[in-house]
C-alpha cells in the first residue's frame, strides 16, 4: 500500500539536510506509551486475595509524535538523556516494540544491534553461534553460513571455530560478536551504545569501523550520549527529551542543545539564579594570518595561529581543554590538551593565543575544543565546542594525513664489479 515516499511527505521539522540521498527510514507521528503498574499484580494469589483491586497504571509516554527521516548514506545520531525515549525509538525502528500510533517505513535490510552478541549460547561453538546470530540479525541461514569465514577472519579466530563459546576469553567473545555485526552488512544498521562495551582498543576499533562505513556511504542510525561521537561521525543528529523531538539538525547544534539541557538542571539545583544554560561558550574563535587578520584558508606548512576566547557559563574547576583537529572524514588528525591550573568563575574568560605547527595535507578541517573537568566520577567532558572550519591549501601531495620532513634522497648505486 501507500505511494512511494518522496522527500517532502514527511511532516515535522524540516532541518538542514546534508545528504540528498533517497529516504531509507521514514518515521511519522510515532507515539508510544508504557503502562507502568503502580502495584503490579503478578500472581494469581494477589488476584485472588484482592479480586476487586483495580490495578492502577501510570501512563509513561515514552515517545510523543516523533517524525523524521533518514537518507541513504547518512550517519544519523539519536541523542538524549537517560529516559528520553531514545532506546524506545530504536527498538521501534528495529521492530522489537510496537508503536501505539504513527508509522515507520524502512528500505532494505535492517540489522539492529541493541547489544553485542545477542542470543549467543555458551554451550555452542562459534560456528553454530555465528549462524544463529547472523539469522537473528536478518540474514538468511545460507548467507550467515557463507559469511562465517569472513566473520572469523575479521575476528582473527579461525582456529577456534569449533570451540564452544564458554571457552572463549571475554576479549575473544567481544571480537567475535563485533565481527558478526561488521560482517552482517545490512543496508541500514541500528546501533545502540555498542561502544559502551569493551576496552579502549575495542572502542577504537568500533570508531574505525564506523568511519569506514561512513566513508562507504552506508546508512547508520546510532543511539548514544557521547557527544564526541556525534560530532565526529554524524551528518545529522536528533535530540529527544521526554519523548519529544526537540531538535534535528547539525550535530554541533544538537550537541550544544544536549549539553544545555543536561547542565541546566544541575545549575538550577545548585541554586544558580542566573539563566545559565551552557557550561561554556565561544566568545571568539578564529585562525589568524601572519599579520593578525582572521582567515579561513591556511597555506600548508603555515602555522595555525589561534585566536580563541571562551567564557565559562558556570564555575569551572581547573578545566582541561582538549583541542581536536579533524579532517573531512571526521578523523582526528591530532589533538593536544592544556589544563588551566586555576578555577574559572562564572563569566570568567579563558584566552588561547599561540600557534600550532601545521603539517596537515591540503583539505578541509575543523577545530573543536572539549572542556573537561575533574569530578567525583573522574574526568568528564562537560562540553564540546566547534571553533572553526578551515581549509588548508597548497601543493603538498594529498595522500595520507600529514606531511613530514623527510631527509631521504634516492642515490643510484654503482653496479658491483
Amino acid at each position: 500500500m501507500g505511494s512511494p515516499s518522496t522527500a517532502d511527505d514527511v511532516t515535522g521539522p524540516a532541518p538542514a539536510r546534508r545528504s540528498d540521498g533517497r529516504v531509507v527510514i521514514d518515521v511519522a507521528g510515532l507515539d508510544k506509551s508504557f503502562r507502568i503498574p503502580e502495584h503490579r499484580i503478578d500472581s494469581l494469589k494477589e488476584r485472588a486475595t484482592h479480586p476487586f483491586t483495580r490495578v492502577e497504571y501510570r501512563e509513561h509516554r515514552a515517545l510523543r509524535g516523533v517524525s523524521f527521516d533518514v537518507r541513504e548514506g547518512e550517519f544519523f545520531g539519536i541523542v538524549g538523556r537517560n529516559g528520553s525515549g531514545k532506546s524506545t525509538l530504536l527498538k521501534i525502528l528495529a521492530g522489537i516494540y510496537r508503536a501505539d500510533a504513527g508509522r515507520v517505513r524502512m528500505a532494505g535490510r535492517v540489522a539492529p544491534f541493541i547489544e553485542l552478541g545477542v542470543g549467543f549460547n555458551p554451550e555452542l561453538t562459534a560456528r553454530e553461534n555465528g549462524a544463529l546470530n547472523g539469522v537473528l540479525m536478518g540474514q538468511t541461514l545460507r548467507e550467515a553460513r557463507r559469511n562465517l569465514d569472513a566473520v572469523l577472519a575479521f575476528a582473527e579466530l579461525e582456529e577456534f571455530v569449533d570451540l564452544k563459546l564458554k571457552n572463549y576469553s571475554s576479549g575473544m567473545l567481544v571480537r567475535f560478536a563485533f565481527a558478526v555485526m561488521v560482517q552482517s552488512d545490512a543496508d541500514v544498521m541500528l546501533i545502540d551504545e555498542v561502544l559502551a562495551v569493551g576496552d579502549a582498543a575495542f572502542a577504537q576499533k568500533c570508531m574505525d569501523y564506523f568511519r569506514e562505513r561512513r566513508r562507504q556511504g552506508r546508512t547508520v542510525v546510532l543511539v548514544t550520549h557521547d557527544m564526541t561521537t556525534v560530532q565526529t561521525l554524524c551528518h545529522r543528529a536528533l535530540l529527544l527529551h521526554d519523548g519529544e523531538l526537540r531538535y534535528l539538525g547539525e550535530p554541533e547544534d544538537t550537541a550544544l542543545r544536549y549539553y544545555r539541557m543536561n547542565f541546566a538542571g544541575i545549575v538550577a539545583a545548585q541554586g544558580g539564579d542566573q539563566v545559565v544554560d551552557v557550561n561554556a561558550r565561544v566568545v571568539r574563535a578564529a585562525l589568524l594570518d601572519a599579520s593578525g587578520t582572521a582567515v579561513e584558508n591556511v597555506e600548508d606548512a603555515e602555522p595555525l595561529r589561534l585566536d580563541v576566547a571562551l567564557e565559562a557559563a558556570r564555575p569551572l574547576r581547573r578545566p582541561k581543554f582538549t583541542f581536536h583537529v579533524r579532517n573531512a572524514d571526521g578523523q582526528a588528525v591530532f589533538e593536544f590538551a592544556r589544563r588551566l591550573d586555576a578555577d574559572v568563575p562564572l563569566g570568567g574568560r579563558v584566552r588561547f593565543d599561540g600557534s600550532v605547527e601545521n603539517r596537515l595535507v591540503p583539505g578541509t578541517y575543523s577545530l573543536d575544543v572539549y572542556i573537561g573537568e575533574e569530578n567525583e566520577r573522574g574526568p568528564e567532558t562537560v562540553q564540546g565546542l566547534r571553533l572553526v572550519n578551515f581549509l588548508v591549501f597548497g601543493t603538498a601531495p594529498e595522500h595520507g594525513l600529514v606531511t613530514v620532513k623527510a631527509d631521504v634522497e634516492p642515490v643510484l648505486e654503482e653496479p658491483q664489479p
Binding site: 512511494p4 521492530g95 522489537i96 516494540y97 532494505g108 535492517v110 541493541i114 549462524a131 541461514l141 543496508d187
Partner: protein, 280 residues
C-alpha cells in the same frame, strides 16, 4: 548489498510471525536444534536419555499395574499399550511444560532482536517432537517384540499424531504467551498436567472406567486421541472413542474443547505477541 533500490516498507512491530515465513522457519530450526544440543550435551548417555526416561517410567508403572493392581491381564497387549500411551502423553506433557517459561527464557533474544514470537513455543514442540520420533522407534520395537502384528491401520496413525501435535502447539502457545503476565502459571501448569495425566486413559483403558466418570474423561480431547491410537495401532478389538463416548455425538464435547483451545491459542497469542517484549 542490493543494487536496485529497495522500496520503503512498513515496520509493523513485533508479531507472532513478523519478518517473513522463511526467516521464521530458519529460526525455528536453529532454536530447536540449539535447544536439543543444549539439553543433551554433557550427559553421559546423550540422546539416549530421551529414550531412557519414558522407558524407566514405563518399567515402574508396568510393575505396579501388572503385579500390584493386576489390571494388565485383562487388557490385550497391556505393556505395549502402556508404553505407547506414556510416550504420546509424555510428548504433550514435556512440550507444554517447557513451553510455559520458554518466552521468558529467551528474553535476551525477544528484547533485543526483531524476532517472530511464535517460533519460540514452536521450537519447544519441535524439540519434543524429535524426542517423540526417537521414542516411537522404541515403541515399534516393543510392538513387534510383544507380537502385535502389523496392520494397515498403522497408516492412519499420522492422523492421530497430527491432532496431538495441533493440540500440543495450541496449549504451548497459550501458556507461553500468558506466562510473562501471570507468573503463577508455571506452577499451576505442573499441577494441571499431572491431573491431565490421570484424567487421560494412559494407565487404564477407558472401558474399565465407570460410565459417569468416563463421560467426564471424554471431555478431555486427549482421551479420544489416545483411544483412537490404541485401536489403530495396538488392538483392533478395542472399542474406540466413538463407542466409548456412546456414539459420535458423545465426542462433541471433546471436539468443542479441542477447537476452543485452538481458537483461544491463536487469539491470545496474537493479542499478546506485540507486547511480550515490554512485559518481560
Amino acid at each position: 548489498m542490493s543494487d536496485a533500490p529497495a522500496p520503503l516498507r512498513d515496520v509493523p512491530g513485533p508479531s507472532a510471525l513478523g519478518g517473513g515465513t522463511r526467516r521464521a522457519l530458519e529460526l525455528l530450526y536453529l532454536i530447536a536444534a540449539t535447544d536439543f544440543k543444549k539439553h543433551y550435551f554433557g550427559t553421559a548417555l546423550g540422546y539416549l536419555w530421551s529414550i531412557a526416561r519414558p522407558l524407566m517410567l514405563f518399567g515402574v508403572l508396568l510393575a505396579v499395574f501388572t503385579q500390584v493392581f493386576r489390571l494388565g491381564s485383562e487388557v490385550p497387549h497391556y505393556p505395549v499399550l502402556l508404553l505407547f500411551n506414556i510416550v504420546l502423553f509424555g510428548f504433550f506433557q514435556e512440550a507444554t511444560g517447557v513451553a510455559v517459561t520458554s518466552i521468558v527464557g529467551q528474553e535476551g533474544i525477544v528484547r533485543k532482536t526483531q524476532f517472530p514470537r511464535l517460533v519460540i513455543p514452536l521450537a519447544v514442540v519441535l524439540t519434543s517432537l524429535f524426542n517423540l520420533a526417537l521414542n516411537l522407534v522404541v515403541v515399534l520395537v516393543f510392538l513387534l517384540a510383544f507380537g502385535v502384528a502389523p496392520m494397515w491401520t498403522w497408516l492412519l496413525f499420522p492422523v492421530v499424531l497430527a491432532l496431538l501435535i495441533v493440540i500440543t502447539v495450541a496449549v504451548s502457545m497459550l501458556v507461553s504467551s500468558l506466562f510473562p503476565r501471570f507468573r503463577d502459571l508455571a506452577i499451576i501448569w505442573t499441577v494441571l498436567s499431572t491431573v491431565l495425566f490421570y484424567a487421560s486413559p494412559v494407565l487404564y483403558p477407558l472401558e474399565k472406567v465407570p460410565a459417569t466418570l468416563r463421560d467426564v474423561i471424554m471431555i478431555n480431547p486427549l482421551a479420544p486421541l489416545l483411544e483412537l491410537a490404541r485401536k489403530w495401532v495396538i488392538d483392533p478389538t478395542a472399542p474406540g472413542p466413538a463407542a466409548l463416548a456412546g456414539g459420535y455425538a458423545g465426542l462433541l464435547p471433546a471436539v468443542a474443547v479441542f477447537v476452543l483451545v485452538c481458537v483461544a491459542a491463536v487469539w491470545v497469542f496474537k493479542r499478546e505477541a506485540p507486547r511480550i517484549a515490554e512485559e518481560l
